[in-house]
Symmetry: C4
Subunit: 202 residues, 4 copies
């Protein structure tokens, strides 16, 4: 228990820092490009790709943290396999400020396709990290009480796989319809939050 408490604390730290570093990608309109009040208003409006990317990634990391939080609630111990799988998952979270900045920089340009494909591929790797973490709950050491929460873990595994397939799909889609791929990403976590909110709260 105490052991898991510290893994949670470290993970919370990484989640909290990654989610807060997202703001560093939104750059103040540089002073020397502003020659009137309207310029500054336009400069702030032209930052919409940054606002959007910030909002999207904030939502994704928040949902990840909530899921992480509920997963840890049912664990009764940890293992080294779990520890390193968790580390890999955190690496995919830590990577998000970069792919978010990439998205923000190119979403409003002619070069949006690589940026969106890269971003969605990050989702594939993140899902793989989740799946790996879920596998280590049973192997090599059982980390949950026998017979309890099996359904829940199985359910999370299924939705993780489903999420992975959606991200694989949006990664491919990004080569033709990047904006559609992005909107699917956005819907994915809005649906996720809505569904989970309407599920029986614990």
């Amino acid at each position: 228990m105490k052991e898991n408490a510290r893994i949670e604390a470290f993970s919370d730290g990484v989640f909290a820092i990654a989610i807060t570093l997202l703001i560093l990608e939104i750059k103040v309109p540089p002073h020397d490009s502003i020659h009137s009040i309207d310029d500054l208003w336009n400069g702030l409006i032209r930052l919409w790709p940054s606002y959007f990317a910030f909002f999207l990634s904030f939502g994704i990391i928040l949902v990840s943290w909530v899921n992480h939080h509920y997963l840890f609630n049912i664990l009764i111990k940890s293992s080294r396999h779990f520890l390193y799988a968790n580390g890999f998952l955190l690496m995919t979270i830590t990577f998000m400020p970069f792919s978010t900045a990439l998205l923000a920089e190119y979403i409003g340009t002619d070069y949006v396709k690589p940026a969106v494909a890269f971003y969605c591929f990050g989702g594939v790797v993140n899902s793989a990290g989740w799946y790996l973490l879920l596998v280590t709950i049973h192997k090599p050491v059982r980390l949950i009480s026998m017979g309890i929460n099996e359904d829940m873990v199985a359910g999370v595994k299924r939705s993780t796989l489903m999420g992975m397939f959606v991200y694989i799909g949006t990664t491919a889609l990004a080569f033709w319809f990047p904006i559609v791929a992005l909107i699917i990403n956005l819907l994915l976590w809005i649906v996720w939050i809505t569904l989970s909110i309407n599920a029986k709260s614990d």
Copy 2:
């Protein structure tokens, strides 16, 4: 309890990081613009907008954290609604290093109006986040003990609404008198701290 402990830990992380990232907006006077000791002194003095913006936002985030801290003291459990409302509130906090940097960049220029209006509007959204969070204390699941602390929550709701109206007012005011709007912001949290310090300490 344990559940809330982790939400607190994550929230504390976000508050602590957002408040510390504020310092990144204060830029050291660039070496190539400094040709004498007096130049450096002047460079440090000309940073006053940055110091002011840092001080203002530090105070606002600190007051937010203190309130968050007292609110969690009376909760006995959490819900998914509460979790996501808290996430939205944290997003408005995370946004502050950007609006602070914007303020610092333009407060001493002719283009101060958009910067102050944007900053004050951030306060409106933040107040809305607080209000949303307070609503989830009763709906859909009751998160405080029956009959206890109802007055306190009602009181906090009232002052949150009042704060929101002040921020709406200063956002509008910023289009004509940005400096006055800023001073009201500054007074708002100084008054808040003074009042809360003089209230019966718990």
Copy 3:
């Protein structure tokens, strides 16, 4: 107890972030200024002001954290006054990455005096923050058990005042002998660590 636990967690977060952000002031020698392997070695060596400033500030924040840690060990509750005094202290800690970057930029130049004076003045404000925090331990609410640890608090108050006078002295000294002022700063925390290590460990 639980209340103080969360103040500690928030404070630890701010200390940990401020101490880690120090590294951001050390900039990698820019690629376009490097034309040979020796250039890169020289570039790394010419970063000595940054290494020194990093080392100095890391030490000061670490000592502050250790003291903060021991102070909280003897507290049995908190008050709003204490909470805001602690917030002010944290603001002076949060400020350090800026004054450290300033020091690193100008320590090896002809404009070292303002940088050192500014840095030392930060120490004055930090000491004032400590003193204020120590005052709130007794007023308006008593935060330590009656009759216990009074000597310790009185002792810490004395050394805080002493530290403040040293910083006032080095701030003044920096206008004539900035390097001497810096060395005194460095010695101050080395002496502090040595003394506290040799004191009866608890």
Copy 4:
């Protein structure tokens, strides 16, 4: 126990922040250098030194954190010597975002040797920090229960010394074969993780 809890929390904060700040060294390909979709793909591919350096340092800090975590599990109290030795260790961790950025900048250039040597030397200092920390477990105050875990501490000491010698070796090797030195670094922590995963999990 409570005391150690706070040292753990502070250390976890520093580990979590240092590991997350690594992402800041990966810079989005600048917009003005991109003139076609292929340019952006190439720009993302040319970032491989940054990805590699991120991955390497993430692994090293993660392994460090895991070891730190297991070490604290066996401690029953702390001392000021231990506290400052831990602070020194954290300083070497905090330094990693800089040496990682240095590595990322120069790994694909003709000037790779100083960057790798500097990076490996950071490993030497980090190992020295670990060794110092392990020494303070017995001196001046015993921080583990008599007769228990002695073998484990002795074993960790041995592997720390071995790690230090490997890093000294790779630092020297970097002057002739920097890439080989880097690969040894990479293997070192992959072997470490593999070994520790296959060891009896606790």
